[in-house]
């Protein structure tokens, strides 16, 4: 059942080449739409029917997002692909760019057609040089073959697509910061509303979707929304890419239907490394609260199951930790990340992320104080939900998760000035 959507070409020799993509019917969905002059509404309805939820982490229904844009509003509109894959633990979009760039291009052109946009940007994470080059090469091929450009296949529909390489800021993965960055400004999130659907790139209506979401579109339209939806479970339609890493035998990206038990995913990744025992799992990228290993082994990989366990599926970045890990150290590292990556625009995040890190760092380095855990608890409530974008929440949630499930390790650290483990 695996590799049905974004990875369905992984068995090919060099799947990133146009010729190989086309050998399996690539771009036929697009040409079909253009020839039939299929109505944009029917495309959006099909996407809605698929139950596809944004694969970047927030899980917002893609079809619904598209329907926010009125296709008939005059003026420029944009399709933007968010390939600024920066969440620690996430590396799935990189493989879409590397192995299936044409499916993404096809998806973006279709998205442009559906919302009436004639221009698209793919914002690629700055460190992704190789995927960037491969995507650029694919763009060249697509352009040469007439899948991009003016009056595609005599349909009267124009679509041009550009890639834009980021410069190494996590915050540019936040969609409005990403737009600012494309506009040549400092990558800082905008206050919302207005949302990009109304005031997006250069102030024009814009849809921004994750790489995996857009790359799923051609398959959804080829096989039908219902087919896609049926791959997954209730409220979590389709299959999804999971980047699994940590103390496991074979870290990597796996496409599995949503609702697959975590234990199966772990097995696909070769199980725990060197027979170690699972301690905890961060199921959706570093900002997702940690779940104890035992509990995780009972869960299925879908939006609702993970949410019910107090965490989130996020971008599908599964970080598996074995018992050798000191949770204080793990949290210290993650907090440092958010401290380093806060854009500094709004107060709670700018000041709070540094403070969180410093308190956790002093616990880790044996300088913790008994009142520190209460301070951390309190501080996270003053950051989460009080900021312009979700980075504040992302910085607060891992702290809350760790203190919820592994508080005794922190207490031990403070009392004994050393780790409980190892």
């Amino acid at each position: 059942m695996a590799n049905e959507v974004c990875f369905r070409n992984m068995d090919q020799d060099r799947p990133w080449l146009l010729e190989q993509y086309r050998s399996r019917g690539g771009y036929e969905v697009l040409t079909g739409i253009l020839k039939e002059k299929r109505s944009p509404e029917s495309i959006i309805n099909e996407v809605k029917a698929s139950g596809l939820r944004g694969r970047g982490g927030a899980g917002f229904p893609t079809g619904l997002k598209w329907s926010f844009i009125s296709r008939n509003t005059p003026g420029q509109k944009y399709v933007v692909c968010n390939s600024d894959e920066g969440e620690p633990g996430t590396f799935k979009d990189r493989d879409v760019l590397r192995y299936n760039p044409h499916q993404l291009i096809e998806g973006m052109v279709i998205a442009g057609y559906a919302i009436g946009a004639t221009c698209g940007y793919n914002y690629i994470r700055g460190e992704f040089w190789e995927p960037y080059e491969r995507f650029e090469a694919a763009l060249e091929e697509a352009r040469a073959a007439g899948f991009l450009g003016k009056d595609l296949f005599g349909s009267g529909f124009d679509f041009e697509l550009h890639s834009h390489l980021g410069a190494g800021a996590y915050i540019c993965g936040e969609e409005t910061a990403l737009l600012e960055s494309i506009e040549g400004k400092k990558g800082q999130p905008r206050y919302k509303p207005p949302f990009p659907a109304h005031f997006g790139l250069y102030g024009k209506p814009t849809i921004i979707n994750n790489t995996e979401s857009l790359a799923s579109i051609p398959v959804i339209l080829e096989k039908g929304g219902e087919w896609f939806k049926a791959l997954g479970v209730e409220n979590s339609g389709g299959s999804k890419l999971f980047s699994i890493s940590g103390n496991i035998k074979n870290p990597g990206v796996f496409e599995i239907p949503l609702g697959t038990p975590f234990s199966e995913l772990l097995e696909m990744a070769g199980g725990m490394k060197d027979g170690s025992r699972i301690k905890a799992v961060i199921p959706g990228g570093s900002s997702a609260p940690v779940i104890p290993g035992e509990q995780m082994m009972e869960l299925t990989m879908d939006y609702d199951a993970i949410a019910k366990a107090g965490s989130m599926l996020g971008s599908g970045a599964v970080i598996v930790l074995d018992e050798s890990n000191c949770m204080v150290k793990v949290l210290e590292r993650m907090s440092y990340f958010y401290y380093e990556e806060s854009c500094g625009q709004c107060t709670p995040c700018r000041e709070g992320t540094g403070w969180l890190y410093r308190v956790i760092n002093r616990i880790e380095t044996g300088r913790g104080r008994p009142e520190d855990l209460a301070l951390l608890d309190d501080m996270t409530t003053k950051i989460a939900g009080r900021t312009i974008c979700a980075l504040g929440d992302a910085a607060a949630m891992p702290v809350q998760g760790m203190l919820r499930h592994f508080r005794e390790e922190f207490e031990y650290h403070i009392a004994h000035k050393r780790c409980l483990v190892g």
Partner: protein
């Protein structure tokens, strides 16, 4: 506003009505409900970054920023509920963790928004025990002191630059807690409106450099006044301690200066206490100046004038500064007329007196109406540096899409999209004639004008705009063919349906006319008085070498007079060369008086401090002189009495810019050879600002120089930095050559009003240039 646009919301149990979509903080502010904030500013875009104004809204799970939340029907808001207070206090704790809390040594202490709000929302002890952030000191110029360690990153200053000043000089660089405000590349902040960031900075990051460490806010007494440097009449507050003006702040007046003032109005107060202040009457004894008491000095002045007058009042002339108050100007002309002289004028920088002039020329519209223009043509005006607040108004119109164009002898640095037709002063006349012709005008020069694309475009813009204006600036007034410019502008305005407006140069250029400080029938105007020697002169508030259109000629003429009495607040080299008695007078801050601004609004003010030393308000000096000279009608006991007289005479006058006919006049300025463009730089405009130490250190405070474009310099065989002899009429000056691409071919920019230019002729005229 129709009712259907109005919504009813509830704030803290109070029912409030507001227009749908208004930002919540505007509604609470209007209702007097205090919501703490730092980044919000009514004149700037919404940033929502400080998170201090978080409030609770029913049915919304998270606290919302009041500054960014539009109101809608039935919204239920709690600004002081436990949830709202928890959010506000949480933000305050974060704001304070890296703030140095150095209030005792911070100039903002006592008037600091952070300090004030921390009192209400902060804790008395911090839970933050780590080291605090420190930001290195940055020098951004002579006006603004910085201490970015105190910064709370509200970005008001950054947004001010982008949105109001129109030049992005400050930005936020870095990420997270390393965000810093700065210029990125080491440079100064040079906007002519830069000082406003001192006011909008909620903490002590941006403070006044001249004021630094000189007084605490609570030692200052605030006194209302009116800014004395341009015709905006910006409303200001003088902050006084122990009889000294310590600093100047804007006073809100939405119809005039909104909440802003120019740097010139903010920092010129330094001149009030300059070492040049004249604190005793002076009487010339041979080559020496003797300090005298008032009795002797007034006697000497009266005797001197009486003697010079002899049997005919027409032997006397008076030249008065348009920066004087209405009361001063009125009494000066009354004195002259009482002595039988019709020779009095304030138009000391005007280059051509052939034209007829309206009785009450003004902006032609209100200051606020400039915001709503759809098109404007500015003739001979570097409005940004002449009247910064009016330039800001015009910029607002430009950002809304207005077509602003300039016919200018210097390429201007406009902070918005504008069309500039840059031409030599003689060429400007042709350009105006061409625009007039494109609009269907005829007669005089117009008939032969060659119409280019730019002229046609300007004509079209003015004609098609719903609200258009043609404005004449300082370089138009100083033009030797000003009467032609006026005539052509009248035609352009008339044919296009645009409003003709004047940009009066000084604080009381408009008031001076109302006061009667103009030559009467048979009287001499400024140009005549300063070229045909009279026996006696009365000068008020002027420095002859710097404030007159043709300083060389003026000095020569005044030098031939039998007697010159000057009323001056300052010692002045050129004044001392020509005067016989100098009477020390009070500055604008030290006297009560009235200015009439560009929109014809009479704005009276009181003295904020006592006059320096022995100086006295000029109206009092004039009043005593009137008594000593036995002139009738000098019995006023207060400036209000004087004002009442002016009101009686001119109070009913309505401003009007009737069209004037000057197009048949002969163009006097030759279009051949090299033409001097003698603009008056922003910080050389009047005796007070010329003595404001910090302003004189800014980049706008240029030194006397001969500025040429590279092509013209090549023709003249001159290079940047060379010394050149500038010869004008019979006089000359040696000046440094500066290469300046903004100067058109055939011209050399030799700014006026600067030390080193006193020996030169008219502000605009033919000159020769050679290597020294």
């Amino acid at each position: 506003m129709s009712d259907d646009q109005m919504v009813t919301i509830e704030v803290d149990g109070r029912e409030l009505k507001a227009k749908a979509g208004t930002l919540l903080i505007e509604v609470t502010d209007a209702a007097g409900i205090s919501v703490p904030r730092f980044c919000y500013h009514k004149k700037l875009s919404v940033a929502a970054n400080c998170r201090m104004c978080l409030v609770e809204i029913a049915k919304v799970p998270k606290p919302m920023p009041a500054c960014a939340t539009p109101v809608n029907q039935g919204m239920q808001v709690f600004t002081r509920s436990p949830a709202a207070l928890a959010a506000q206090k949480g933000t305050m704790e974060f704001l304070l963790i890296n703030h140095p809390l150095d209030c005792p040594i911070c100039d903002q202490g006592g008037e600091c928004e952070l300090q004030d709000i921390a009192l209400g929302y902060g804790n008395d002890a911090s839970r933050f025990v780590e080291g605090k952030r420190v930001v290195p000191k940055r020098d951004i110029g002579p006006l603004i002191a910085t201490d970015f360690t105190r910064c709370i990153h509200c970005t008001r200053c950054v947004r001010f630059g982008a949105e109001i000043a129109g030049i992005r000089e400050l930005g936020a660089t870095g990420r997270g807690e390393h965000v810093e405000i700065g210029t990125y590349i080491e440079k100064s902040v040079d906007s002519e409106m830069s000082g406003n960031i001192i006011d909008i900075c909620p903490v002590g990051s941006l403070t006044s450099k001249p004021f630094l460490y000189s007084a605490r806010a609570w030692e200052l007494v605030q006194r209302k006044s009116i800014a004395p440097h341009d015709s905006v009449g910006s409303n200001i507050n003088l902050h006084v301690r122990r009889n000294q003006v310590m600093r100047v702040h804007p006073r809100d007046n939405e119809e005039v200066n909104e909440c802003w003032i120019s740097d010139r109005d903010r920092f010129s107060y330094e001149g009030l206490s300059s070492v040049d202040r004249l604190t005793h009457p002076l009487i010339r004894k041979g080559d020496k100046w003797i300090e005298a008491d008032w009795q002797d000095a007034l006697d000497a002045a009266a005797q001197g004038l009486k003697k010079a007058r002899g049997t005919s009042g027409n032997r006397l002339g008076a030249l008065v500064s348009p920066g004087s108050t209405l009361e001063e100007l009125y009494l000066a002309q009354k004195l002259m007329r009482g002595l039988g002289s019709e020779n009095i004028d304030f138009r000391i920088r005007q280059g051509d007196f052939r034209g007829e002039e309206p009785a009450f020329p003004w902006l032609g519209q209100t200051i606020a109406q400039l915001d709503e223009l759809n098109a404007a043509l500015l003739v001979g005006s570097n409005i940004r540096k002449e009247q910064p607040i009016l330039a800001h108004r015009l910029r607002k119109a430009a950002l809304e899409g207005a077509d602003i164009s300039f016919i200018t002898p210097l390429e201007l640095d406009t902070n918005y999209r504008a069309t500039q037709v840059v031409n030599s002063p003689a060429g400007m006349i042709s350009d105006l004639a061409a625009v007039a012709r494109a609009l269907g005008g005829s007669g005089g020069l117009i008939d032969g004008a060659e119409i280019g694309d730019a002229h046609r475009a300007i004509a079209e813009q003015l004609k098609s705009a719903a609200k258009a204006t043609v404005l004449l600036g300082n370089l138009a007034v100083a033009h030797p063919d000003y009467s032609l410019i006026q005539g052509l502008a009248s035609v352009i305005a008339g044919k296009s349906g645009a409003v003709l407006g004047y940009l009066p140069e000084a604080a009381n250029s408009v008031g001076a006319r109302l006061s009667g400080a103009m030559p009467g029938t048979g009287g001499s105007n400024a140009q005549e008085m300063l070229s045909n020697p009279h026996k006696g002169y009365l000068l008020m508030g002027v420095e002859p070498g710097l404030d007159f259109w043709n300083p060389a000629k003026s000095m020569e003429t005044l030098g031939q007079a039998e007697f010159v009495v000057a009323l001056s607040a300052f010692r002045s080299e050129s004044l001392e060369q020509v005067a016989d008695v100098i009477l020390p007078i009070a500055s604008f801050a030290e006297t009560s008086g009235t200015y009439v601004n560009a929109q014809g609004e009479w704005q009276s003010f009181s003295g904020a401090v006592a006059p320096a030393g022995e100086s006295r308000p000029a109206w009092k000096v004039l009043r005593v002189l009137g008594n000593l000279l036995d002139v009738a009608g000098f019995n006023q006991v207060s400036s209000e009495d004087v004002l009442a007289e002016v009101r009686q005479l001119a109070g009913d006058m309505k401003p009007e810019n009737s069209a004037v006919n000057g197009i048949e006049n002969e163009a006097l300025l030759a279009g051949t050879g090299l033409t001097r463009i003698g603009d008056v730089p922003i910080y050389a405009a009047d005796p007070l600002v010329r003595r404001a130490a910090a302003l004189q250190k800014t980049r706008d405070a240029i030194k006397a120089s001969a500025r040429l474009n590279p092509n013209q310099a090549k023709i003249a065989g001159l290079a940047d930095g060379d010394q050149a002899v500038v010869k004008q009429d019979k006089s000359s000056a040696v000046l440094q050559v500066v290469i300046d691409p903004a100067v058109p071919d055939g011209c050399v920019r030799v700014p006026a009003g600067l030390a080193g230019t006193e020996t030169l002729g008219g502000q605009i005229g033919n000159v020769t240039l050679e290597k020294a």
